[in-house]
């Protein structure tokens, strides 16, 4: 049986029907992980620990205590701390780090929560800083559609794991596009929910006012199922919102308007003109427009809208995120955990050498930029000014949402690029984030779904941006599209997948 092609609900049904046990499923995925090791999707795999969890899940199933996710394997981005697997955030400074506790997301999905079995920790850009996974201290996760191309970032390992069938679903985090862009590059579905929906407790911090966890899976329905298990208030995260938990699948299969004949009749899709401006690769634009046409065939209406400050989201983000990072990363000092330099003459030099040897180039750049924009004399001109423009960007979205229900456009200006192609020039890489940064700045939910393939055979993603707490509607809309399209069902050929690296 090709279990890696199955949806979460199919896996769950198979488990309930005793067609497969959690141990068998776990062994199946562990075997694929070792078979496709060359993709570099995982940073830490501990087979015996996964099988321990799977055995426990099988006991729960036997006792009739199973839920919809019990026994299904899951991969966690290495930014979530785990007691049993190493947690490095793909940094040398946290090499071999073992956390004394599990992140809230890991705990909620885990064997004592939703009952899922952890397969291991996935590769990422160091401390989630990057758009190609090339900033990982352990080498990049490679795109399974063509291993000469990047997987996207920062949650590249999770995207590769799902796309290559090395996990049925995975967790990711998104600070400026880190779930949506790798999802688009690898042809999977990913959701960054409303800021504050999911606890950040145990998520290694990058930019706390932007960081948000989310699911990365094969379909909108699969992602919704995971969202149900991980959203909700947590008193250990002061930015986590106090709201009644939503059922993100409550609108699945329902028509947008009860009285309408077509599934999405009445839905108003805002199409921001700035998302189709110069710089958008033609093939990407064509695929996104074709998807919009399909939404119209489903009954939706497209309305041109404007998000005039879209271009400014890049400078705003590259002030705010490094500012927060420079503060968050001050904890890595070589005293309480992690790497410590071998040679130093005093305490100060121990700090400086530890950090200089432990952090990669991009992390150091962002710490320096962040320190600069927060320093006396520059704070008002950079940091405060960026926070003010952030409000304007958020208000522009609210203006757009007065005439439309959701926004749609591309996830990224182009498909995945070749490994090494953009790694020389940091600014060139930053410009690739243009369509994904604004929803983080505004705290809005946004998702990526596959909507086409380039002539080179690389996936193209469609971005859906909703208003605050509109995740259930976004999943409803995406699910309708995934019933009339098959892009999300395409899988990379195993011969290409296995050509990567050390097989």
């Amino acid at each position: 049986m090709n279990w890696h092609e199955k949806s979460l609900s199919e896996l769950s049904q198979a488990i309930f029907a005793k067609e497969v046990s959690s141990v068998e499923l776990t062994q199946y995925f562990l075997k694929r992980i070792s078979q496709y090791k060359g993709l570099n999707a995982y940073l830490d795999v501990q087979e015996e620990l996964s099988l321990r969890d799977a055995n426990f899940a099988d006991e729960l199933i036997a006792k009739g205590q199973a839920g919809p996710l019990t026994g299904i394997p899951v991969a966690h981005k290495d930014v979530f701390v785990t007691k049993d697997w190493k947690s490095t955030a793909a940094s040398k400074i946290l090499e071999n780090y073992l956390s004394p506790f599990d992140a809230r997301v890991v705990e909620r999905l885990g064997i004592r929560g939703a009952g899922m079995v952890c397969l291991g920790k996935t590769n990422m850009d160091e401390f989630a800083m990057g758009s190609s996974n090339e900033n990982s201290a352990y080498g990049p996760a490679l795109n399974p559609w063509n291993t000469q191309y990047v997987s996207g970032g920062s949650s590249g390992g999770s995207a590769v794991a799902v796309a290559a069938g090395l996990a049925p679903i995975a967790t990711g985090t998104d600070t400026g596009g880190s779930i949506r862009q790798p999802a688009a590059f690898c042809g999977i579905t990913g959701i960054k929910p409303t800021y504050g929906s999911i606890s950040r407790y145990g998520m290694i911090a990058y930019a706390s006012s932007l960081d948000q966890a989310g699911p990365m899976g094969k379909s909108a329905a699969d992602c919704g199922l995971m969202l149900n298990a991980i959203c909700g208030h947590d008193q250990r995260d002061s930015t986590s919102l106090r709201r009644e938990p939503d059922n993100y699948l409550r609108l699945l299969g329902k028509n947008w308007s009860e009285t309408a004949q077509l599934p999405l009749q009445g839905l108003r899709i805002g199409v921001p003109e700035e998302y189709f401006a110069q710089g958008l690769q033609e093939e990407v634009g064509q695929a996104v427009r074709a998807a919009l046409k399909q939404f119209e065939d489903l009954g939706a209406t497209c309305i041109p809208v404007s998000l005039p400050k879209t271009k400014l989201s890049i400078p705003v983000y590259y002030v705010l995120a490094p500012a927060e990072a420079s503060s968050n990363l001050s904890r890595y000092d070589g005293v309480r955990f992690g790497y410590r330099a071998k040679e130093y003459k005093d305490l100060t030099q121990m700090y400086e050498r530890t950090r200089s040897e432990g952090f990669g180039a991009e992390v150091k750049r962002r710490i320096l930029i962040g320190t600069y924009v927060l320093s006396q004399g520059y704070y008002d001109a950079y940091y405060l000014q960026a926070q003010k423009i952030r409000r304007i960007i958020a208000q522009d979205f609210q203006t757009a949402f007065t005439i439309c229900d959701v926004l749609m456009g591309p996830v990224a200006p182009q498909v995945a690029w070749k490994v090494g192609e953009k790694s020389k020039d940091p600014v060139e890489m930053y410009l690739e984030d243009i369509y994904t940064l604004s929803p983080n700045l505004a705290g809005l939910p946004a998702m990526s779904i596959p909507c086409g393939m380039s002539t080179e055979g690389l996936p193209i993603g469609l971005q859906i941006i909703g208003n605050y707490f509109a995740e259930a509607q976004m999943i409803q809309i995406a699910d309708h599209y995934q019933h009339v399209s098959s892009w999300h069902q395409l899988a990379p050929s195993s011969s290409v997948t296995s050509s990567g690296g050390s097989l």
């Binding site: 071999n96 780090y97 073992l98 956390s99 004394p100 800021y195 006012s209 208030h233 002061s238 930015t239 919102l241 106090r242 400014l312 400078p315 590259y318 002030v319 420079s326 000092d333 070589g334 005293v335 309480r336 955990f337 992690g338 410590r340 005093d346 305490l347 030099q349 121990m350 700090y351 400086e352 950090r355 200089s356 150091k364 750049r365 710490i367 320096l368 930029i369 320190t371 924009v373 320093s375 001109a381 405060l384 000014q385 960026a386 926070q387 003010k388 423009i389 952030r390 409000r391 304007i392 958020a394 020039d425 940091p426 600014v427 930053y430 700045l441 505004a442 705290g443 809005l444 605050y468």
Partner: protein, 97 residues
């Protein structure tokens, strides 16, 4: 940005850069700063900074929890990944001469 400024910035950031890195970083920071200088073109008079995104739609209340100890004394596991320990204490280089 001149070499002196970069060295000062590195000091504030707790980083040590060799002369070659300093030169390289100086160029890169220049590029990044010219990218973010676009911020100055926007008139933001009368606009309040936005620190928590949800504040756009609803008034935020500082979330407080009951003042109770929830974590036990996990000294061993908390020190598990420390680079240098001695009898349950973190070891650091001499601080006072």
């Amino acid at each position: 940005m001149n070499i002196e400024e970069i060295n000062h910035l590195a000091k504030l950031s707790g980083l040590e850069l060799n002369p070659e890195q300093t030169k390289q970083i100086s160029k890169e920071l220049e590029n990044i700063l010219s990218l973010v200088d676009e911020l100055q073109s926007v008139d933001t008079s009368g606009v309040e900074p936005l620190f928590h995104p949800i504040a756009v739609i609803e008034a935020l209340q500082q979330a407080l929890r009951p003042d109770e100890a929830t974590e036990g004394n996990n000294r061993m596991s908390n020190m598990l990944s420390a680079p240098a320990v001695h009898e349950g204490l973190f070891l650091v280089p001499k601080v006072i001469e």
